[in-house]
Every structure is written in structure tokens, then in C-alpha cells.
């Protein structure tokens, strides 16, 4: 009986490691595909009517769309767009959120109250809809969509990081830095930011998948990337038009890639949380 429980535990730990490896391998795969895609954007947009609507084959892994473009190639380009956009959104949003959080943590109490109420007000809007409104106001496109997304993720970062920033206020090193009279910006950069860094990293990973989904959603509705850009959401819109006549691959392939990327990143997030012992927080 005793011997039965022991291998089980070992197995559990190993499967956790396995998940981390799986997530990293998947992400690495996507990065490679993305790099290839970004270098082949022209080919991916080359119209070849003679080849249109070919089903998946050895030559075209995911077939071709109505304009005869290789869906596989366009999915690769889409990986690049998704990864670059989401990385930018998460980095910029995370940085802005970090600034807000530090202002809350080190600044006066009223500033904290005002900023958090403001964050709550932004969070009251469903993320996709607020991103959509901002994007529309700025004019549709991939870059404006990214700006819209950043607006919606800043308060998410700010809220989680603020709790940590407030805690850092009571940490001996911050107190000491204040006592010896270091300037606030210096304390913020030298002491508080490193204190928040693990939470920031976990939060970046946690928001990455969501950002990918929102961007695809915006493009799907028509305010994000515009045709002929090979963005996943836009490709799914395209695929819908052919779905009812039986050309399933045009829309299925980009969605499948999207699901796999988001799963990989979320798997990584779970593992990061596990490792850093960050409290599980759903947003």
C-alpha cells in the first residue's frame, strides 16, 4: 500500500514538468513558424486564381483560399502578426500598468483611490467592446486595434500589481530606502519594480492569450486587421464565406492555430503561477 502512493506522487511532479516542456515546445514552434511567416508575407498575399479553393494536399498543407493563396502560409503569417501584436500589447500595457500600480503604492492615498476607481470604470466595459470603441474612434486597422487593446489591459495589470505595490510599501528595503531619503522615482525603479517583477511576468503571460483572442475578435468583426492582411480573425471571416459551400479548411486552419497558441500560453501561465507561487487570479 505504501509503495503504491509513492510512484503516483513522482508521476504528478513529472507531469507538471511535462506540461511546462510541452508549453515551451509549442511556443517555440509558433515562434519559428511566425518568423518564417513574417519573411514570406508577399508570397502569402500573392493571388493565384488558377489555384483557388484547393483542398489540403501535400503541396498546400491547409489548401488554398478563394484567391488561390496558400492557407498554411497565411496561417504562418498570422502567427507572426498575433505574436508580435500580443507581445507589444502585453509589454506596453504591462509597463503602463506597472507605472499606475507604483503610483498607487508609493503615492498619496487619494491618488490610489482615484486611480483604482478609474481602473474599475474601465474594467466595467467588456474588454472586446471597449477595445472596439477605441479602435473605431481612431480608425480601423491593426495598429489602432492594438492601441484599443492596450487601453483595456492597462487596468488589468494595474489592479493586480497594485496589491503587490501596496505590500512593498511595508517591506524593510522600501522603508529603509525612504528613511535614508532616496527619491521616489529611484525607489520605484530600484526597489519596487524588482519586487513586482514576478507578478508582472505572470500577468503578462496570463493576458497574452486573452489579447490574441481579442485581436482576432476585432479583426473578425472588421475593425482590426483589414484584408488582405493574413490575420487569423480576418481569415476566419473569410473562411465563413466558403464554409457553407464545403471549403472548411479556409476558416478552420487559422482558428486551430489560434486555439493551439492560446492553449500553449495559458499552459505556460499555469506553470509560471505554480512555480512563482503567485495567487491564482482570474481576469
Amino acid at each position: 500500500m505504501t509503495t503504491l502512493t509513492r510512484p503516483k506522487r513522482v508521476l504528478a511532479r513529472r507531469s507538471v514538468d511535462g506540461q511546462l516542456v510541452l508549453a515551451l515546445v509549442m511556443i517555440a514552434g509558433f515562434v519559428v513558424i511566425a518568423v518564417v511567416g513574417l519573411f514570406m508575407q508577399t508570397q502569402a498575399n500573392t493571388v493565384n486564381v488558377a489555384d483557388s479553393l484547393q483542398p489540403p494536399s501535400a503541396e498546400h498543407l491547409f489548401g488554398t483560399d478563394a484567391q488561390g493563396r496558400s492557407v498554411a502560409l497565411r496561417v504562418a503569417v498570422g502567427s507572426g502578426i498575433a505574436i508580435v501584436s500580443a507581445t507589444v500589447a502585453v509589454l506596453v500595457g504591462g509597463a503602463l500598468g506597472l507605472i499606475v500600480a507604483i503610483a498607487c503604492g508609493l503615492g498619496p492615498r487619494w491618488l490610489d483611490a482615484v486611480l483604482m476607481r478609474l481602473a474599475d470604470s474601465v474594467l466595467a466595459f467588456p474588454q472586446l467592446l471597449l477595445a472596439l470603441a477605441v479602435t473605431m474612434a481612431l480608425g480601423t486597422g491593426l495598429i489602432t486595434a492594438n492601441i484599443g487593446i492596450i487601453v483595456t489591459v492597462v487596468p488589468v495589470f494595474a489592479r493586480t500589481l497594485r496589491a503587490e505595490a501596496l505590500r512593498s510599501r511595508n517591506e524593510p528595503f522600501v522603508e529603509a530606502a525612504r528613511t535614508i531619503g532616496l527619491s521616489l522615482p529611484r525607489i520605484a525603479v530600484r526597489h519596487v519594480t524588482p519586487y513586482l517583477s514576478t507578478t508582472l511576468i505572470v500577468q503578462m503571460a496570463a493576458n497574452f492569450g486573452n489579447v490574441v483572442l481579442i485581436l482576432a475578435g476585432l479583426s473578425f468583426i472588421g475593425v482590426g486587421a483589414q484584408p488582405p492582411t493574413a490575420e487569423w480573425g480576418a481569415m476566419i471571416t473569410d473562411g465563413l464565406q466558403n464554409a457553407l459551400t464545403g471549403q472548411w479548411w479556409i476558416g478552420v486552419a487559422p482558428g486551430l492555430a489560434l486555439v493551439l497558441l492560446v492553449i500553449a500560453v495559458n499552459l505556460l501561465t499555469d506553470q509560471l503561477r505554480h512555480r512563482f507561487g503567485a495567487r491564482q487570479r482570474m481576469s
Binding site: 507531469s15 476607481r117 478609474l118 474599475d120 470604470s121 474601465v122 466595467a124 466595459f125 467588456p126 474588454q127 472586446l128 467592446l129 471597449l130 472596439l132 470603441a133 477605441v134 473605431m136 474612434a137 481612431l138 480608425g139 492569450g209 483572442l213 482576432a216 475578435g217 473578425f220 468583426i221 472588421g222 475593425v223 480573425g233 476566419i236 473562411g239 465563413l240 464554409a243 457553407l244 464545403g246 472548411w248 476558416g251 478552420v252 487559422p254 482558428g255 489560434l258 486555439v259 497558441l261 492560446v262 492553449i263 495559458n266 499552459l267 491564482q280 482570474m282
Partner: protein, 339 residues
């Protein structure tokens, strides 16, 4: 107790005030001229000025803001930039379709989440791992893509469910309006054909809409169940001779459900967002479809109203849930009495 609710309400009012400012700011202060959108790129300066005057765009920003909020509060949500329709009337006419769809999606998500999470937290091992995998996939699946896949499988290939054709097959008469929900109205008027047809039309969009809320609820509930199962009271209940399964369903689940209900706001937001993404695909005549059509026509009046409205609903539902859970959950009653 009243002070607790009062404090909540005050907080909500502050949030709503700021939300309306945000919404107004996005509408008026960002580049882009609504008057130009209305008159079109080719219209002359005179027409543009006339529309600007009519919309009050020449007034000071503060006045414009109060006009905007006043209009919103009095249910006067303006007119569609593209076809002049009364936005309030358009949204009101389409709301029942969205409510019906969201309701079925929510029920589906809730039932599946409770069943999956309960079993997963009862039997860890393979079943638990499968449930975690399921919610991992669910959280990463865009509803519009799932809609496409579902249509391909069940409508195009298996031909067991209708394709994108709205709420009813076109030759059927909608049942007389009582609640506005076709399935309910059909049942109330004894129209079995309309009921089954309406239900068949609901299945695919409801599942597509349910996937993210369902995955979210499954994940949250599983975590809450695992938390609750560690409580000392579980051992005591077992010591009474109650079986592990009964302990799990009667005590652990009850303890885990209440904190799960508190996050209804997230589920609601996912349903609102999902209806925007899914309705157009199924030609579902709801508010989400109006929004998407409004976007395609650059119709700010519709878009802004919808977005502010969804924020207001979100905040109010959260307030309601807080208050209700506060009453229902004895643990929170204690905390409140203490605070």
C-alpha cells in the same frame, strides 16, 4: 446592513459616472468627426455645419457631456447615423432574441460546469486532468471560430441542425409575443412545431456562446471545490457516516457555489461579448448583430450606446450579485456584521 448596501451603491455610482465619461471621451474627444461620418465624405461644408449644429457639437464639451448623459438616462439614445432609426427602439426590438440566446448559453454553461467540476474534483486522477484540459481548451477557443466549426459539422456535413437562418425557419410564423423568447412563447401557446424549430435554431449559437463562460466557470468552480474539500468540516460530515459522494455534493458543492456566483459579472461580460461575435454568423436578430452592422456602417450612435449600456448592466449585475450573495451566504453575513 443598510450602510453596507449604501456603500456598495455609492461605489457603483462613482464607477458609472467615470464609465460615462470614458465612453463620452472615446466618442467625442478622440480624432474622428461624427458629423462627417453622418453626412459622408462627399458632402459640402454647409451640410456638415448643419449636422454639427444639430448634434450640438458646437456646444462646449461640458454641455455636450451633460446632454449625452441626460439623453442616456432618459432612454433617449439618439438616432442611427446611418439610417436615422431610433436606437432605443432598435435595441429594444432586438433584445429578446439576445436574451433568449444568452439564457440558453448560460444554462448550458452552468450545468456543464457544475457536472464537470463536481466530478473532476471528486475523482482527481485522469478525470480531473481531463476536466482541466477541457477548460484549458475552452478558454482558448474564440466563439466565432467554434460557431464556424459547429456549422460545418452539424449543419453542412451531418445536416442535423439548421444553418445560419436566425431564430426560426423562414416559413414558420413566430409565436405570439408574450415573453419575447420564442421557445417559451411557443410552449405557452402550445405550438410544438415552432418550439422544436426554435430550439433547433438555438442549439449551435448557444453552444458557441457558452464555450468561454463554461470553461471559465468549470475552472473557477473546480478550484473552489478543491478549496472547500480541504475544510475540516468535511471530515466531521464523513464521521457522521455520510458517504464521500454525498458529502461532496451536499456540503462541498454548496460551499463552493457561493463564491463562484460572485463572479457572475465575468460570465455576463463574456456573454455580451460573445453575442457580438456569434450572432451575425447565425443571422441571429439580436443586439449583437445590430452592433456588428453598426460597426460596418461606422454608426457611432449604436456602438456607443451599446457599449455604455453593457458597462452599466455589468456594474448593476455585479452590485445585485454582491447584495444577493451577501444575503444568501451565512459566512458573508458574519463578515458584514463584523465590519
Amino acid at each position: 446592513m443598510p450602510t453596507y448596501i449604501l456603500r456598495q451603491v455609492l461605489g457603483v455610482l462613482q464607477t458609472l459616472l467615470l464609465s460615462s465619461i470614458i465612453s463620452f471621451a472615446v466618442l467625442r474627444l478622440l480624432p474622428g468627426d461624427p458629423a462627417r461620418l453622418i453626412v459622408g465624405p462627399l458632402a459640402g461644408q454647409a451640410a456638415l455645419d448643419a449636422v454639427r449644429e444639430q448634434l450640438g457639437l458646437n456646444d462646449p464639451v461640458i454641455v455636450q457631456y451633460f446632454d449625452y448623459v441626460g439623453g442616456f438616462l432618459t432612454g433617449n439614445w439618439g438616432y442611427s447615423y446611418s439610417n436615422g432609426a431610433d436606437v432605443t427602439a432598435v435595441l429594444a426590438a432586438r433584445l429578446p432574441a439576445t436574451i433568449e440566446l444568452a439564457l440558453y448559453a448560460f444554462l448550458f454553461a452552468l450545468v456543464v460546469a457544475i457536472v464537470v467540476a463536481t466530478i473532476a474534483s471528486y475523482r482527481r486522477g485522469i478525470v480531473g486532468a481531463l476536466a482541466k484540459f477541457f477548460s484549458l481548451i475552452g478558454l482558448g477557443t474564440p466563439p466565432f471560430w467554434l460557431a464556424l466549426v459547429l456549422l460545418l459539422v452539424f449543419s453542412v456535413n451531418l445536416k442535423v441542425l439548421p444553418g445560419p437562418s436566425g431564430r426560426l425557419t423562414s416559413f414558420l410564423q413566430p409565436p405570439p409575443t408574450i415573453t419575447g423568447l420564442y421557445t417559451v412563447d411557443a410552449l405557452l401557446s402550445g405550438n410544438v412545431v415552432a418550439f422544436s424549430d426554435a430550439l433547433a435554431h438555438l442549439v449551435l449559437p448557444a453552444i458557441a456562446l457558452a464555450v468561454i463562460p463554461c470553461a471559465f466557470l468549470t475552472r473557477l468552480l473546480t478550484a473552489n471545490l478543491e478549496d472547500a474539500a480541504r475544510g475540516a468540516f468535511v471530515t466531521v460530515v464523513r464521521s457522521k457516516g455520510v458517504s464521500r459522494w454525498s458529502t461532496h455534493t451536499r456540503h462541498v458543492l454548496h460551499n463552493a457555489l457561493l463564491p463562484t456566483v460572485s463572479s457572475s459579472g465575468v460570465v455576463l461580460a463574456a456573454l455580451i461579448t460573445g453575442s457580438v461575435l456569434v450572432e451575425e454568423i447565425f443571422d441571429w436578430p439580436g443586439v449583437g448583430q445590430v452592433l456588428v452592422q453598426g460597426i460596418q456602417r461606422q454608426d457611432f450612435a449604436v456602438v456607443q450606446t451599446f457599449i455604455l449600456l453593457s458597462a452599466v448592466i455589468y456594474v448593476l449585475v455585479n452590485l445585485l450579485v454582491d447584495v444577493v450573495v451577501g444575503f444568501v451566504d451565512p459566512r458573508l453575513r458574519l463578515q458584514r456584521a463584523g465590519s
